[in-house]
């Protein structure tokens, strides 16, 4: 039992921090634009595919650096020549634009790379088991994912809270007009934040690609979870995104690891159920089976009991 808890905890943190790499950018971009960027996870997917192709020529490590940069530049261009133009037609137009962009990117990815999962793997020096605990292996690559995510988290935190540019970003998000009139180039700040947010999503894709698979559906799979995180944490709140990322990461890994069914739960409560009853399928439902639904269940509960999210301030 204790090794199960230990590995679930570790895996949950790895997943949670990976999710935060996407959620942090998405929530910052939401604070600036006032709309959710539906194409955010598409940049995550592009990161994986770019890194895959780059790794074929120059290896994994250069891909790790170049692919996020490329995705970041692409994101900045999308903001500068797409969203900034669409902005004048209002929020609905922006929303539809990001929707369309998500479809476009998925189609382009299928067109260039095809429908099947790509053979994008972790580098050989990370293909070993870091340690064995109660007979279970912990792959070195997972530890690597953990390290990268923590490093990114610390850098992001330091830049936003300790640097002058972080101060300008915060001011530009909350008071764009006043910040501009003090002489700060707010549109440039927005383009930068959008680009860096996309680059972070790209980086998440680069390191998740080998672990979770590089295929055209990867954006959709993660995208909806990331939206749940941003809403549960509170739209625009970085702290909220962090807490919700870890929460959902842990929720998912624990639900998969703990193989309990509804009847087990009822048994604990001293209620026995008839194995032949009409509801027997319900009683047999196990946690791993419902694991994919749990984040959405959490979303619904949050929307009912705390519509602003865990750390949200904004009235929407």
């Amino acid at each position: 039992m204790s090794e199960l808890l230990f590995f679930s905890l570790l895996n949950g943190i790895v997943t949670g921090l990976l999710l935060f790499m996407l959620a942090s950018g998405l929530t910052l971009i939401f604070s600036m634009m006032g709309v959710l960027n539906f194409a955010h996870a598409s940049f995550y997917m592009l990161g994986a595919y770019f890194a895959y192709t780059i790794s074929l020529y120059v290896g994994f490590w250069l891909g790790l650096i170049l692919a996020p940069l490329l995705v970041g530049v692409l994101g900045a261009l999308v903001e500068r020549y797409g969203l900034r133009y669409v902005h004048r037609w209002g929020h609905v137009a922006e929303l539809i634009f990001t929707f369309g962009l998500a479809f476009l990117i998925e189609e382009v990815v299928q067109f260039i790379w095809g429908k099947e999962t790509k053979a994008y793997h972790e580098p050989e020096i990370l293909q070993f088991s870091l340690f064995t605990f109660f007979g279970q292996d912990f792959p070195a690559y997972k530890a690597f994912m953990l390290l990268v995510s923590i490093a990114i988290f610390i850098v992001l935190l330091l830049i936003l809270t300790r640097s002058r540019i972080g101060l300008i970003i915060q001011a530009a998000i909350t008071h764009p007009n006043m910040t501009a009139m003090l002489g700060h180039n707010v549109p440039l700040v927005f383009m930068g934040v959008f680009g860096v947010g996309c680059a972070l999503a790209g980086l998440a894709g680069v390191i998740a690609g080998p672990a979770l698979g590089t295929f055209p559906g990867m954006a959709v799979v993660l995208g909806s979870i990331v939206f749940v995180i941003v809403v549960v944490g509170g739209l625009g709140s970085l702290t909220g995104a962090f807490v919700a990322s870890l929460l959902i990461g842990l929720l998912q890994t624990f639900a998969i690891a703990l193989d309990y069914s509804v009847s087990d739960l009822l048994a604990v409560l001293n209620i026995s159920v008839d194995a032949e009853s009409a509801l027997r399928d319900l009683w047999a439902l196990s946690l791993p089976q419902v694991a994919p639904i749990l984040p959405y269940l959490l979303l619904v509960l949050i929307l009912i009991f705390r519509p602003t999210g865990l750390f949200g301030k904004r009235e929407t």
């Binding site: 300008i168 909350t174 007009n177 501009a180 003090l182 002489g183 700060h184 180039n185």
Partner: protein, 231 residues
């Protein structure tokens, strides 16, 4: 220094500025007076590019109508809004830092100058700007703009709603700003400070200037004061 000619501005369909013309010379303190709602704030906002201007705005000979707000600020124009727009989630010190446009350029003002003039701000340097009193927030917004070292500062109703003792402090700061060679465009409703420190005054009616003169001339002109200023 600043030469505004036939300036028009709209909020949606309503024609707010209907041909505003005035100027501010180097080193001058000019006041823009008028009743509430005549368009004084809109005039400054169009100069800063926050409201789209139509017409000519020359700053040191350069046409700035149509530039973006941050470009206008970087030409050397400073703006202090009327609603004491501090960044509430940030400390007093961070607010002042945000006023600086370029860390590498040394301007007329240092943070310590601000703290020497307003010891209250020094004592509360690491306090959230949102919890300061109205007077302190007014000082902070003015100081924040000064940190950007403008050559012309436009200040919108700095004394509104403040206690007489704080109004006096605002007056002292305005004199200090002028002493350091910064031109001032002051928007006011009350006459007291404006008459005391201005070189010239304009009175604004509905969307355009209705009077221009020196403080002594305005004091003598009872008809203009009755018609356009007193309530």
């Amino acid at each position: 220094m600043l030469e505004v000619k036939d300036l028009h501005a709209y909020y949606g369909k309503s024609h707010i500025l209907q041909g505003v013309t005035f100027n501010v010379k180097e080193g001058e303190i000019v006041s823009l007076l008028g009743r509430n709602g005549v368009g004084r704030s809109t005039t400054i906002k169009s100069i800063m590019g926050e409201v789209a201007p139509q017409g000519s705005i020359l700053y040191r000979g350069r046409q700035i109508a149509g530039l973006k707000a941050h470009e206008i600020a970087r030409c050397g124009l400073g703006y202090v809004p009327e609603n004491r727009d501090v960044f509430p989630g940030m400390t007093v010190r961070q607010n002042l830092l945000l006023g600086i446009k370029d860390m590498k350029v040394e301007g007329r003002w240092k943070m310590d100058d601000m703290f020497d003039m307003f010891p209250n701000l020094r004592n509360r340097a690491d306090v959230d700007a949102g919890v300061l009193s109205g007077g302190e927030q007014q000082m902070l917004t003015m100081c924040r703009t000064l940190m950007g070292d403008p050559d012309l500062i436009m200040i919108d109703e700095p004394t509104e709603g403040l206690a007489p003792k704080i109004v006096e402090q605002v007056g002292d700061l305005l004199s200090e700003i002028a002493r350091r060679g910064v031109s001032i465009l002051l928007v006011e409703q009350k006459l007291a400070i404006a008459l005391k420190i201005s070189h010239r005054l304009y009175v604004m009616g509905h969307g355009h200037m209705v009077y221009e003169g020196t403080p002594d001339e305005l004091k003598a002109n009872e008809q203009i004061r009755k018609e356009w200023l007193e309530v």
